[in-house]
C-alpha cells in the first residue's frame, strides 16, 4: 500500500515538473508583424520589415528556450479598425505573443491600447507619434527606431541652425502629422524661429500643387513636410516643379528614409536634410548587414526595417534571459536590458518604453557625388539619444514617477 502511494506520488511529481519549453506558452513564440503592405507606406516598412524580422529570428537560431519562434504578418491597410480586428484575432485565437512594426500612428495607438488590455507586448518601429511613450504609454508597449520628437530635434534643429527661422507646414491630416507639426513647431519656436502657417492634406493625396502654392505665398524660409512615404515623395517632386526651391525656400522632409530617397531619385531629392537612425554605408558592420539584406530583398534597409530586426532580436533576448515568455517578466527585462546589436550599440529603454539611442542627421547627395546605387547619404552629425528623445520623466507618461 505504502509502495503504491510512493509510486503515485512520484508519478504526480513527474507530471508536475515542467519541461523547459513549458515556460513558453503554447510551446512556441509567435511574433506578428502588422503593417502597411499595399498602401502609401508599403516601402517604408512593408514586407521588407517582415523579411528583417525573419532575419532576426534566423540569426537567433530559430529557437528560444528550446521553443521554436514563428513570424507571421498581415497588411492593416493603414486602417485602425482593420488593424484592431487582426490584432484581436492574433491574440485571441492564434496564440501570438507580441505584435511589432505597426506603421501609421493611428494604428499603433489602437493596437497598443488593445495589447495593454490583453496584457501583451507590442514594439512599435514603424509609427512616429511620441504619444506612444507619452500620454498613451503602456507598461507592455515599446517604441523603437524613431519618433516625432527625434525628427523635430534632428531635422528641425539643423535647419534652424542654418538660418531657416520661419516655417510653413504641409501636414498629413491625422495623429502623426499633428504630432510631428506640433513638436517641430515648438522646437523651432524654442530656438527663436517662427511658424507662419500650415495646411492639412488628406492621407494619400496625389496632387499637392494647391498646398504648395499656399506654402509659397506664405514667404516662409522653410517648408516642412509633416507627412510620410509616397506623400512626401510627391510633395517634394511637385515643390521643385512649382519653383519653391529655385525661389529660395528650403524643403524639410521631416520623415523621409532611404526607401523614399530611392523612389524619388537623387535628381529631385538632392540636398534634402533628414534624420534617420540607420545608414547601411556607415561602418563595416552596417555594410555587412546591408549587403545581407540586399541579397534577400534587392534593396538596402532603412531605420524602420533594421529597427524591426533590432526589436525582434531584443524581444528574443529578453525571453531567453527571463526564461519565460510571460508578459510581465519579459517587459521587465526589456525595460532593463541595454540594446546592443547592429542597429545601435548604446541603446537603453526608458520607463515609458522609449528606446533611446543616437540618431544621425543626413544630407542627400548630389547625383554626381553618388558612386553606386543606394550611395545616397552624407552623415552630417550624430544626435545623441538624450537630446533626440524626450526624457522619460518629461514625457507625460503616467507610468513614470
Amino acid at each position: 500500500m505504502k509502495f503504491l502511494h510512493l509510486v503515485s506520488a512520484a508519478l504526480l511529481a513527474a507530471t508536475a515538473i515542467p519541461a523547459t519549453a513549458a515556460e513558453i506558452s503554447d510551446g512556441k513564440v509567435k511574433i506578428g508583424i502588422l503593417n502597411d503592405q499595399s498602401g502609401v507606406y508599403a516601402d517604408f516598412g512593408g514586407k521588407w520589415s517582415v523579411e528583417a524580422a525573419k532575419m532576426a529570428v534566423e540569426d537567433f537560431g530559430g529557437k528560444v528556450q528550446g521553443a521554436p519562434v514563428e513570424v507571421i504578418n498581415a497588411d492593416h491597410q493603414n486602417k485602425p479598425d482593420i488593424a484592431s480586428n487582426i490584432a484581436r484575432q492574433w491574440y485571441d485565437t492564434e496564440q501570438v505573443d507580441a505584435i511589432m512594426e505597426l506603421t501609421t500612428s493611428s494604428v499603433a495607438l489602437a493596437v497598443q491600447g488593445l495589447s495593454q488590455e490583453k496584457k501583451k507586448i507590442d514594439i512599435v518601429t514603424g509609427a512616429a507619434t511620441s504619444d506612444l511613450t507619452g500620454k498613451n504609454c503602456s507598461p507592455y508597449g515599446f517604441h523603437w527606431a524613431y519618433d516625432t520628437h527625434a525628427l523635430a530635434v534632428g531635422t528641425g534643429g539643423a535647419l534652424v541652425k542654418q538660418g531657416g527661422d520661419t516655417w510653413f507646414f504641409l501636414t498629413a491630416d491625422y495623429a502623426f502629422g499633428y504630432s510631428l507639426e506640433e513638436q517641430t513647431g515648438n522646437f523651432v519656436k524654442s530656438q527663436g524661429g517662427k511658424v507662419l502657417g500650415s495646411v492639412r492634406h488628406p492621407l494619400a493625396t496625389t496632387d499637392y500643387s494647391s498646398f504648395l502654392l499656399q506654402a509659397q505665398s506664405s514667404g516662409a524660409k522653410v517648408v516642412g513636410f509633416a507627412n510620410a512615404g509616397l506623400d512626401t515623395a510627391n510633395s517634394i517632386k511637385q515643390a521643385a516643379e512649382f519653383g519653391l526651391v529655385s525661389g529660395g525656400q528650403r524643403l524639410a522632409a521631416l520623415l523621409f528614409t532611404i526607401a523614399e530617397v530611392h523612389g524619388l531619385g537623387l535628381e529631385a531629392a538632392q540636398g534634402l536634410s533628414l534624420t534617420e537612425g540607420f545608414y547601411w554605408d556607415r561602418n563595416d558592420e552596417s555594410r555587412a548587414f546591408g549587403k545581407r539584406f540586399f541579397d534577400r530583398t534587392g534593396r538596402m534597409p532603412n531605420m524602420i526595417q533594421v529597427g524591426t530586426y533590432s526589436a525582434v532580436s531584443q524581444y528574443l533576448k529578453a525571453i531567453d534571459k527571463a526564461g519565460t515568455d510571460e508578459t510581465e517578466a519579459v517587459s521587465k527585462e526589456l525595460h532593463s536590458m541595454p540594446v546592443d546589436d547592429v542597429f545601435t550599440h548604446n541603446g537603453k529603454v526608458g520607463a515609458n518604453g522609449r528606446m533611446i539611442y543616437d540618431m544621425y542627421l543626413m544630407e542627400v547627395k548630389k547625383p554626381s557625388e553618388s558612386k553606386q546605387l543606394w550611395d545616397y547619404y552624407k552623415v552630417l552629425a550624430t544626435i545623441p539619444g538624450d537630446e533626440a528623445y524626450i526624457k522619460p520623466e518629461e514625457s507625460g507618461c503616467p507610468l513614470v514617477k
Binding site: Y41, D207, S209, L213, L230, K237, G263
Partner: protein, 295 residues
C-alpha cells in the same frame, strides 16, 4: 489687394488654375470611361490600372530602351490600347451577354492583378520620370508660378477631349459607333462589323487612359498606386456628368477639378471628399447626372 471671402484674389486665381490642371486629368480619364460605358455598357474598373500602365510604359521605355518623352507620348498609349484590345477580345467580349455586374467584377479583378504585379516588382514609392527638356522650368504669371509642363497638360487634354468628342459626334465612324450602341443587331444587318467596333472602342478607351498616364508621369511619381488613387474620383465624375454622356464627362471633369481646387483653399481637410458630396447632391436632384438623358 482685392479679397474674395478673405482670400487674396491672386491666390484664388492660382488655385483655380491648379484646379483646371487637375480637372484636365479627370476629364481625360472620365472621357475614356464614358466612351467605354456608353458603347459597351461595361463599367471599366481597370481604367485606373490602364492609366498606371501608360505611365509605366513611358518609364520603362526610357529605362530600358532610352526612348524619350515625345515618342513615348504616342507609343505608350498604343501599348496600353493593344493590351486593352487583347483583354477585350479574349475575355471581356465573352461577358457582354451576361449581367453588367460580371464586366465590372472582371475589370475590377484585372485591375487588382495588374497593380499587384507592379507593386511586387516596383514597390510603392514610385519611380522618377523627368520633365522633357522642352517643357522644363516655369513662367511667373504674376499671380502664380506656372510650371510650363502643367500648362502643356491643360492644352493637350483640351485637344484630346475635343478631338475625341468630334470624332464620335461628327464623323461617319462615330455615327456607326453610336448606332451600334442603340441597336447592334440592326447595324450588323447593314454589314457593319459590330464586334470589331466594340473591340476598337475598348482599345480607344484604354488608350486614352494610357495617354493620361504618360502625361501624368512627369508630374506624379510613377507608382503602382497612382491609378487606384484616382479611379474612384473619376467614377464620381462620370456619375455626376451622366453615365455614358461624353460631353458630360469632359465638362464635369474640368468643373470638379475647379471645385476641388477651391476646397483646398477654404477647407483643405475636405478636399478628398468634396467630389463625393457633389455627387450625392447631383444624384438627389438629377438622378441621371448633369448631362444624362432620363432613362
Amino acid at each position: 489687394m482685392t479679397m474674395v471671402f478673405g482670400i487674396p484674389i491672386q491666390a484664388l486665381l492660382g488655385q483655380l488654375l491648379v484646379g483646371l490642371i487637375n480637372g484636365s486629368f479627370y476629364a481625360m480619364l472620365s472621357l475614356g470611361l464614358a466612351i467605354i460605358f456608353g458603347l459597351l455598357r461595361v463599367i471599366n474598373f481597370a481604367h485606373g490600372a490602364q492609366y498606371m500602365l501608360g505611365a509605366f510604359a513611358g518609364y520603362l521605355m526610357l529605362a530600358w530602351f532610352g526612348i524619350g518623352y515625345w515618342p513615348a507620348l504616342i507609343l505608350a498609349p498604343l501599348v496600353v490600347a493593344v493590351v486593352g484590345i487583347v483583354v477585350e477580345r479574349f475575355a471581356l467580349s465573352r461577358l457582354y451577354d451576361l449581367d453588367p455586374l460580371y464586366g465590372l467584377l472582371f475589370t475590377f479583378g484585372l485591375a487588382l492583378v495588374i497593380e499587384g504585379v507592379f507593386r511586387y516588382y516596383y514597390g510603392v514609392s514610385g519611380n522618377p520620370y523627368p520633365v522633357p527638356a522642352l517643357l522644363a522650368g516655369g513662367e511667373n504669371l504674376g499671380f502664380m508660378f506656372l510650371p510650363i509642363y502643367r500648362g502643356w497638360v491643360v492644352v493637350a487634354s483640351l485637344i484630346v477631349c475635343l478631338t475625341t468628342w468630334l470624332v464620335i459626334e461628327r464623323t461617319k465612324l462615330g455615327s456607326y459607333l453610336r448606332a451600334a450602341t442603340e441597336n447592334p443587331r440592326l447595324v450588323q444587318a447593314f454589314g457593319i462589323n459590330v464586334p470589331l467596333l466594340l473591340t476598337l472602342t475598348y482599345g480607344l478607351g484604354s488608350g486614352l487612359a494610357g495617354l493620361a498616364g504618360i502625361l501624368a508621369a512627369p508630374v506624379y511619381q510613377v507608382s503602382p498606386l497612382m491609378g487606384s488613387n484616382l479611379i474612384i474620383v473619376v467614377f464620381a465624375v462620370v456619375v455626376v456628368g451622366g453615365m455614358g454622356s461624353i460631353l458630360g464627362a469632359i465638362v464635369t471633369g474640368y468643373l470638379l477639378g475647379l471645385v476641388e481646387g477651391l476646397t483646398k483653399v477654404f477647407y483643405p481637410e475636405a478636399s478628398s471628399i468634396v467630389i463625393f458630396v457633389v455627387m450625392a447632391i447631383v444624384l438627389l436632384l438629377r438622378p441621371a447626372g448633369l448631362f444624362g438623358k432620363d432613362a
